[in-house]
């Protein structure tokens, strides 16, 4: 019985953690290039609403529709990121203010809600969704079966992405250049690296991944559209990057840890175990984020922290 609960929490922790992995990886790439993106929550909502619209309105086989829905989410997230990139990189608006503006523009009372209403998709039941795949026919194995071999394509894609980002950052030349741009843009510029292009590219990819994280909600987690359905996950993803010390490997661990915090309430509730009020469980991920951020800024952690030195600072050549 007890081990059942633990397994149930872990299985749904992977579900709740997946959007954090995707959006977190996106934010990590943008921040590594020196661009702080506080618009993640809005970008996720745009991804979620666009993907759900496609999955509702397109006709065709499930595989094709889902693929197009994912594409729509990527484009929607990247489009929001393009606004942020233009404002913060090209005309050098304060990145914090610009990011907040994106979240208000696209957020719960903004464009995502507007489009949901214009497209008339609020409250509709999903027509297509990602389901668990019986990977290698191993889904019936105890414990690891449901945990590892019976996830949906989204989850597997997120695992592949983690490896790709890790390899890209630490094993390729563009990855090295990216880290240089984030650490010391003027030195990178002197080396002949196009700082602006690197920042644009990684901000856009970051936005696309945030859109993908949003699409996970409407295509896999609970295929339905309601205003503001990401409910703060985008913000936790930004925090995650900080206490993962800007490292993709730690980011995955953190994402699933926060998946556990998010999964605890719903799992206990469906089993009618009410030790603490449900509001406590709902608040838990946010409380734990505050604690994790505080812990990551203690002097012990500060010795190993990897904040990109130029994070949040616009780059400009000093010229006549």
């Amino acid at each position: 019985m007890n081990s059942n609960i633990v397994l149930a929490v872990l299985v749904s922790a992977i579900a709740f953690g997946t959007p954090l992995v995707l959006a977190g990886l996106g934010e990590l790439l943008a921040e590594r290039s020196g661009v702080l993106n506080l618009g993640v929550e809005g970008m996720m909502l745009m991804g979620a609403v666009s993907a759900f619209c496609v999955s509702q309105k397109m006709h065709g086989s499930t595989a094709v529709v889902l693929l197009l829905a994912v594409l729509a989410a990527l484009v929607a997230g990247a489009a929001m990121a393009l606004i942020h990139a233009f404002l913060s990189i090209t005309i050098r608006v304060n990145q914090i203010v610009s990011g907040l503006a994106i979240t208000i523009f696209a957020g719960i009372i903004g464009l995502s809600s507007y489009l949901g209403q214009v497209w008339n998709i609020g409250g509709l039941a999903g027509r297509h969704q990602f389901n668990g795949i019986d990977l290698f026919g191993l889904q019936n194995l105890p414990i690891v079966g449901p945990l590892i071999f019976n996830q949906d394509a989204f989850v597997y894609a997120s695992w592949v992405l983690v490896l790709v980002v890790f390899y890209y950052l630490y094993r390729t030349r563009p990855g090295l250049y990216l880290r240089a741009v984030g650490e010391n843009p003027s030195a990178a510029d002197a080396m002949g690296i196009n700082v602006t292009a690197y920042r644009y590219a990684h901000t856009l990819v970051g936005g696309a991944l945030a859109g993908l994280g949003g699409a996970y909600f409407t295509l896999a987690l609970a295929p339905i559209w309601t205003d503001g359905l990401t409910a703060g996950v985008g913000w936790i993803a930004i925090a995650l990057v900080i206490f993962a010390f800007w490292r993709p490997d730690l980011l995955v661990l953190g994402a699933y840890l926060f998946g556990i915090f998010s999964a605890l309430g719903p799992t206990l509730q469906t089993r009618q175990i009410t030790v603490l009020p449900s509001e406590f469980y709902s608040a838990l991920p946010f409380l734990m984020t505050v604690i994790a951020l505080a812990a990551a800024s203690t002097s012990w952690a500060n010795r190993r922290v990897g904040t990109p030195t130029s994070l949040g600072i616009p780059y400009t050549r000093e010229e006549g």
Binding site: I104, V290, L293, E319
Partner: protein
């Protein structure tokens, strides 16, 4: 290479530009929103006309514009004050909730006090609750350098759930358990008539007391920032934290006190929600309105000037009022935030245009080897 655009700081901005740029920015925003409206099958001209009527000219429209503007005035001041020092208190939303919790507790507890004292007590009660809530991210920021943007934001969600717990999931002091329907439809205790703040009524128009209080606060903050030692130190810290440190300003105490004042102001927004309008702690109503986040829009559009916050709060209050009044198929709810966002984009962009000269990069740029970075870094 840094792109084809060449941006340099103007030595001084001409006066006409300082006026023309914000006006052009808002006009440009109106055009962009118009295109969006037309693209989604609405007539922009008639939509704008309806909005104007719903927020200004219709019966009772102006009164209800002030109803929305009042909390935004406080949350706008909350954000503007903290942002001026580059202390990013995004927690106005949660500080407002806690202020409402504090003010309604005070109002319930001291219900038999004489009216003026009771009202003052409610203002203080809300302000203190907002302050205490803001001190959590403030202390973490000051003593551990924890990113206050994220911690203050996370606490908004926590405060929201806390408020829910008080009314919907417990037998708390705030919840009304006396009426027979109270267990089915949980509500907060309604405050005594003495606890409702007096507005000024002129004909059919009512000016809430909270708005007057907010104007007073805006003037006070302007004086504090412009003409006191405290404000001078704030501006030094905002422009250069290092310089502030070297000149012997106690930066840690400054961060805590600025965030506490900022939180206190948002707390008074909560007091005003209870005293001026609701008279009862209503978690759903408070959360739906998103006044705290809208305060950030107001502050940014006012370029962190407290007096400008008063005017901008009326503009955004009118927009929100129109949004709620016209809500329906021809005016989806999301339009309000969309418009706020687009106005923000154009005003923020326009601000830069006013301060910098933008032109195309010349081909023969001097090969400046070493670049420079500017601006203040972020806390980790």
């Amino acid at each position: 290479m840094t792109g084809p655009l060449r941006i340099e700081r103007r030595l001084d901005t001409p006066k006409w530009l300082r006026l023309a740029v914000p006006l052009m920015s808002i006009l440009l925003a109106a055009i962009i929103v118009g295109i969006l409206l037309a693209a989604t099958g609405h007539n922009p001209i008639s939509t704008y006309h309806q909005m104007y009527s719903a927020s200004v000219t219709a019966d009772g429209a102006l009164t209800s514009t002030f109803v929305y503007a009042t909390p935004m005035l406080f949350t706008g001041l909350c954000a503007a004050f903290a942002f001026r020092m580059r202390t990013w208190n995004i927690g106005g939303e949660g500080q407002l909730y806690m202020g409402a919790v504090g003010a309604s507790a005070t109002g319930i507890m001291l219900g038999d006090w004489p009216r003026p004292l009771l009202i003052i007590a409610m203002v203080v009660g809300g302000a203190l609750a907002g302050m205490v809530w803001a001190c959590i991210p403030a202390l973490l920021r000051a003593y551990l350098r924890t990113n206050e943007i994220l911690t203050s934001l996370m606490l908004n969600y926590v405060a929201g759930f806390f408020m829910y717990y008080l009314i919907f999931d417990s037998s708390s002091y705030w919840r009304d358990l006396t009426t027979p329907g109270a267990t089915v439809f949980p509500t907060g205790k309604t405050l005594v008539a003495n606890a409702s703040w007096p507005g000024i009524t002129i004909g059919s128009f009512t000016l809430p007391m909270g708005f007057l209080l907010g104007i007073g606060l805006a003037v006070g903050l302007l004086v504090l920032i412009r003409s006191t030692r405290y404000g001078f130190e704030m501006r030094v810290m905002g422009d250069s934290p290092q310089a502030a440190n070297y000149s012997g300003i106690n930066t840690k105490r400054k961060i805590v006190s600025v965030m506490a004042i900022s939180g206190g102001i948002a707390g008074i927004a909560g007091s005003s929600q209870i005293g001026d309008f609701g008279h009862v702690l209503d978690p759903r109503g408070l959360q739906q309105a998103q006044y705290g986040y809208t305060g950030i829009v107001v502050a940014a559009l006012a370029l962190y000037n407290p007096l400008a916050v008063v005017l901008v709060s009326l503009l955004i209050g009118g927009l929100t009022n129109a949004g709620f009044a016209l809500e329906g198929p021809s005016f989806p709810t999301g339009l309000v935030g969309t418009m706020e966002g687009i106005i923000l984009f154009t005003v923020l962009g326009g601000e830069i245009l006013a301060r910098y000269r933008i032109g195309l990069r010349h081909r023969a740029t001097a090969p400046a080897g070493v670049g420079a970075t500017s601006g203040a870094g972020l806390p980790s």
